[in-house]
């Protein structure tokens, strides 16, 4: 099948490009390193005395890996959720997890909890939000996509109000700036510990979604249609949504809430490889990771101070999304 071969080539190209971007990113920064040096230091991890080795191994590599994992998580969960909710305008906010996690994080900052407790609070509130979405759906005795979306919107609004309340209550000198900076997203505090914390859920949920990639095609059908094909929708959709919640909650826990990536990347991926989730999910994964590494490069090199990630993803994401909409409109009109 020629289209199969073309996808394989594209997929391999994306992975190669991502790795190349990672190498370039490792050299960028105030302590500039040519790509050859980066490779040398990567190949000799046990030379901690050299400054360059330290920069690569303890400062930049965890940051680059974390940015990649977070972007990949957002791209993958965005693509999956758009499929499950049969709606290309959906992004990871839709299931309430982002806002729930944001509240968990701001609450922890307000209470002055330790970083580990703060990440746990973020992660748990994110997952709890999905639990509440299902609770509301159960109380309505219906579990359709519409009910789930409405419940997600209700909870997003509710948790957003709680986040504002936390900001209102926070001490304006010290705590409020921390909250604001955290809410805008950043990889500045990356370390290997955080990488491990985000890698676990991303690898677990990512493998589950990757294995289910053809089933997600079936989930994106009309509910009645899918059921007549013999798909047990509810358990499948629950499993998929929990996986997405794991991805999003883990991402917010280590890097704060980052908008736009989960919306724009799936569109870009769909433009490249079409609607079939067997191709869409891996493409969105690599594109999301690569995009986030590039955004983080901008965040730490454009100015002397760090620019919050959320600002750049919005500034880049909005025009890119506009361009995609115009482009795909023309493309489909042809």
């Amino acid at each position: 099948m020629p289209s199969e071969a073309r996808f394989r080539a594209l997929h391999a190209g994306l992975i190669a490009l991502t790795l190349l971007l990672a190498l370039v990113s490792l050299g960028l920064g105030q302590y500039h390193l040519p790509i050859g040096d980066v490779v040398t230091h990567l190949l000799h991890p046990y030379a901690p005395n050299e400054i360059a080795g330290q920069v690569v191994w303890t400062v930049r590599l965890p940051r680059v890996v974390m940015a990649f994992l977070c972007g990949a998580a957002l791209g993958l969960s965005g693509a999956t959720l758009q499929g499950v909710f049969r709606n290309p305008l959906v992004d990871p906010h839709i299931i309430g997890v982002t806002s729930g996690a944001a509240f968990g994080g701001t609450l922890a900052i307000l209470l002055g909890l330790s970083p580990l407790l703060m990440m746990s609070s973020t992660f748990s509130f994110g997952l709890a939000a999905l639990g509440l979405v299902y609770l509301i759906a159960t109380l309505q005795r219906r579990e359709s996509t519409l009910v789930l979306i409405l419940s997600g919107i209700i909870l997003s609004g509710f948790f957003a109000a709680l986040v504002s309340l936390m900001q209102y209550l926070a001490d304006t000198e010290e705590v409020l700036p921390n909250i604001v900076f955290w809410l805008l997203g950043s990889f500045a505090t990356a370390n290997w510990h955080k990488v491990m914390l985000v890698a676990g859920p991303v690898l677990l949920a990512g493998s589950v979604l990757f294995a289910l990639r053809w089933r997600i095609n079936l989930l994106s059908l009309d509910e009645k249609d899918a059921r007549a094909l013999g798909v047990s929708i509810k358990p499948l959709r629950r499993g998929v949504l929990v996986s997405c919640a794991l991805l999003v909650a883990a991402q917010v826990a280590v890097s704060g809430s980052i908008a736009w990536v989960g919306l724009v990347i799936p569109h870009l991926a769909r433009l490249l490889v079409g609607a079939d989730h067997r191709r869409l999910l891996p493409t969105a994964f690599w594109l999301g990771g690569g995009f986030m590494m590039a955004v983080d490069d901008l965040a730490r090199t454009l100015t002397d101070a760090e620019i919050p990630i959320g600002i750049i993803t919005a500034l880049v994401g909005a025009p890119v999304f506009t361009f995609l909409l115009i482009y795909s409109q023309r493309w489909s009109a042809r």
């Binding site: 049969r86 059908l221 009309d222 009645k224 007549a228 094909l229 798909v231 489909s332």
Partner: protein, 250 residues
């Protein structure tokens, strides 16, 4: 063959409350059942019940060899390719964490070839005409390998030429492949054309089931639709046709 692959006995079905008196009929391999009835009488509801989308209130039905439904229309949320859509019909044969195999893809290619739409394989479903989309949905039912195939108003959106194609296909499914076919329709002539048996849904919870020539009569059709009809026998055409006698006032 005398064993029914789809048998319904004393079935009570509907949304919220039973629509009809307990319903019984049996469909054997090679049989074609037409389901006739006015709009909103419960034709689609019956199909939804037989595919397990709706619960039953009483009685039972049994299905041997699986059941596939060809929906009236397909509203894809994304720009699917025809072959991807047809492949979805293999859902029951692909494990939860598995991907469709080469065998599954061969089945798809075969079904497309059988319906003469192989050329459409890479096209987006949304760009096809109503008749072509109907064929894609039928291909999807074919690859499921189900013994029983239910079609929800397969001809309602089609022009005469495409109606001929779909009716021929329904006939082939039953007579060449020995499948058990049940389709709903608004046109009693379709029942006379291809259906060996007919189930007619009447007002006030009544129904009739049996051989088409016994069920599709002028009297019963008047009961079902409230419009007088005339069954016509033509000199140069082997089957009877039904003409509605509308009364239009000026």
């Amino acid at each position: 063959m005398n064993t029914a692959s789809l048998s319904v006995s004393e079935l009570l079905f509907g949304h919220g409350k039973p629509l009809f008196a307990p319903l019984s009929f049996a469909c054997q391999p090679g049989n074609i059942w037409a389901v006739l009835g006015a709009n909103g009488r419960g034709k689609s509801t019956l199909l939804d019940t037989l595919t397990g989308v709706l619960p039953v209130f009483g009685g039972q039905f049994s299905i041997d060899g699986g059941v596939s439904v060809v929906p009236q229309s397909f509203h894809p949320a994304f720009a699917w390719q025809v072959e991807d859509v047809v492949l979805m019909g293999r859902a029951r044969h692909v494990g939860l964490f598995s991907q469709p195999s080469t065998e599954d893809r061969q089945q798809v290619a075969q079904a497309l070839a059988q319906l003469n739409i192989s050329a459409l394989a890479q096209q987006h479903v949304g760009t096809l005409s109503g008749g072509q989309q109907q064929l894609v949905m039928i291909a999807r039912a074919l690859v499921s390998g189900s013994q029983n195939i239910l079609l929800d108003e397969p001809c309602s959106a089609l022009d005469l030429a495409n109606q001929q194609v779909v009716l021929q296909l329904i006939s082939d499914l039953a007579h060449r492949q020995q499948r058990s076919v049940l389709f709903t329709t608004h046109d009693p002539t379709h029942a006379l054309q291809v259906a060996s048996h007919t189930l007619m849904l009447l007002p006030a919870g009544k129904w009739l089931a049996g051989k088409t020539e016994d069920v599709v009569t002028d009297r019963h059709l008047l009961q079902a639709y409230g419009v007088p009809v005339r069954t016509l026998t033509l000199e140069d055409y082997p089957r009877q046709v039904i003409a509605p006698l509308f009364s239009i006032e000026r």
